[in-house]
Amino acid sequence: MSKFLTRHQKPVLWTLLVVFIAYGFYFWDSVRTTSILNFTLSYALPLILAAMVGIIGERSGVVNIGIEGQMLFSAFVAFFAAAATGSLIMGAFLGMAAGLLAGAFLGIAAVRWEMDQIIAGVVINIVAAGITSFYYTPGKSLPAIVPRIKIPVLSEIPLLGPVFFNKSVFVYLTLIIVVVLQIMLFTSKWGLRTRAVGEYPSAADTAGINVFRTRIFNVAIAGILAGTAGAYLSLDAAGWFERGFTAGRGFLALAIMIFGAWNPLGAMAAALFFGFASGMASQLQADEVINIPQQFINMLPYVMTLVVLSFSAGKVRPPAAVGQPYKKEG
């Protein structure tokens, strides 16, 4: 524990500071603070998952512009599967399977076919938009809503309890995924191999790591997370599905990934920051503290992305081999 604290002084201090300030506001206005933080988390959740998809891909050397399409396709499959089978679990499961399928496609296209990774991603987006808009049928509804699971004791804590510990399974799953990924990426054999393949594939190859297989496997597994994000969006967050439903979240996630310097925890912090800014703006608007046309509020995350990227894109360093198909020499 003490080793953890000394190694991660800055993030720990920042987290404590944020929690401290949050409680300050909570004692000032508990209802609004809780509501803004609830909004923050539900806004950030799909972005966090999608950013993890990007991180896994890019850490292993594959750019994933197709997260948007992967999420859209899985959200579609999850919703209509749940509506058809009458089971949310079946919907979520098939949604994740759809994500796996879309992820595997990217992996194979980028690695086996040496296709331009950006084009492969854009193709996923366009194909997903095509399938989901053609097979979209209006008038379907979900059999039930995703239940909230109250965690005993923890959910009784003021502020943190209702925000973090009285949520659907998607929230817990996401938080666990982020932590596990952070640990795995930097301490496990898989993480070392993944990073090696993304930074210096020919060295990894020399060391006996199968670059192709590692990349395809990682991008496909990441697809499951995109599927989870999609299932969360249609089954839990919205409860419905509409054409073009993901509304650019896959691209915001890429910006968040860069902002978080390709670190799972960093990306989560960035996504929460985005969610908080949007939640704050909506709340201030609703309270008529500020009077900005709704369109400018809607614009906020996109403008923020551009501003954040234009200050951070040059400063953080992407994995060295990202975007380059690996070719064996000789």
Binding site: I118, V122, G130, P293
Partner: protein, 365 residues
């Protein structure tokens, strides 16, 4: 490319086809997509032959249908050119949609704001406003790319969303047509309207001319040479003294200008006003068109025409058979998949297949 010695051993016809595979593959891709599409249509319980007949009849069978098809094709050519020009520099401008609607709005704005302009001049001012608006909108992404290292795919997508929100605001508040429920602007003055020559819209002819001009610029001028060099190898380009940052911004400016022109031509020649419900998805079709045309400016014309035919004919498919017009999105997506993924090329040409070219690499500037 084709290996010289080996190719000679092939039958001349075959060797010709191998050499022309950047033409052959897209054609076969379209055919295969139509075949897959016919299976999907049949699965909906509709005779695919009849369905395709309906599309082509509606799009090409009558003078009215043909006019509508040409009108649909016009902005598509320009959107396709916009994406193609950027691709030549190694930039993937997936924000043609945002640039196009910015162009459409500001052309309309010029069309209803300036009074007492002579007809020809007014049209010109309107088109220019569209080009400038689209160009500047894309140049934001170009500047961010060149000077801040922000990848254009993300920035142009963000600019799309910002443009949609911004224009939604403009047509709902400052420029809303008074007394109208729909969010839209007032119509443009008659002096700003693009006329028709016979049944051919002038905008269509303009788009053809622009495509030829861009083809000339890309293939025959110094600027085009610099574009291609930066796209092929930016290290070599820098070594040769080409100012890469300048080329990046200039090419985005040109690319956005073309998309903006596409929007302007639609506003001034077809819709005569701006309404957010118009111009949907044109920029994204531009991506498909540019990739189908392999970033060749002249090839965007037939590619755009194909998309225009499908888009123009699809609504009657719904009318006749109850098939959603979104079948076109599906058909185009399958085509794009087949063109972009090197599956077809490898299947047909085996070892003679061209390597798929790498256009963009990672997030580096």
């Amino acid at each position: 490319m084709i290996q010289g010695e080996e190719a000679k051993k092939l039958h001349p016809t075959l060797s010709y086809l191998v050499q022309k595979q950047s033409l052959v593959v897209p054609l076969i891709a379209v055919l295969v997509a139509f075949l897959i599409g016919s299976v999907l249509i049949a699965l909906q319980g509709v005779n695919p032959v009849g369905a395709y007949q309906t599309i082509f009849n509606a799009a090409l069978g009558s003078e009215r249908g043909l006019l509508r098809t040409l009108e649909k094709t016009t902005p598509l050519i320009l959107a396709g050119l916009a994406v193609a020009v950027a691709l030549r520099v190694g930039l993937f401008n997936i924000g043609a949609q945002g640039q196009l609607i910015m162009g459409a709005f500001f052309a309309t704005w010029a069309g209803f704001t300036f009074t007492n302009l002579p007809a020809l001049l007014h049209v010109f001012v309107g088109l220019l406003a569209g080009v400038i608006a689209g160009g500047l909108w894309a140049a934001i992404a170009g500047v961010l790319k060149a000077y801040r290292g922000v990848h254009e795919v993300i920035s142009t997508i963000m600019l799309n969303s910002i443009a949609i929100a911004l224009l939604d605001y403009l047509v709902n508040h400052p420029f809303k047509e008074p007394g109208q429920a729909l969010p839209r602007t007032v119509p443009i003055f008659e002096t700003a309207q693009l006329p028709k020559l016979g049944f051919v819209p002038v905008g269509f002819l303009l788009a053809l001319l622009v495509a030829m001009f861009i083809s000339w610029v890309i293939n025959r001028t110094t600027a085009g040479f610099q574009f291609n060099t930066v796209g092929a190898n930016k290290f070599a380009a820098a070594y040769a003294g080409i100012k890469i940052k300048y080329i990046v911004v200039a090419s985005m400016l040109l690319s956005g200008g073309l998309a903006g022109l596409g929007g302007a031509v639609e506003s001034l020649g077809i819709t005569y006003r701006f309404e957010p419900a118009f111009n949907k998805g044109l920029g994204f079709d531009g991506i498909t068109i540019a990739l189908l045309a392999r970033a060749n400016p002249l090839a965007t014309i037939p590619a755009a025409f194909l998309v225009g035919v499908l888009r123009s004919g699809a609504p009657s498919l719904q009318f006749d058979y109850g098939i959603e017009p979104e079948i076109v999105d599906l058909l185009l997506a399958i085509t794009l998949l087949l063109v972009a993924a090197p599956i077809l090329g490898k299947l047909i040409f085996r070892k003679y297949a061209k390597k798929s070219e790498t256009i963009s690499s990672g997030w580096g500037s």
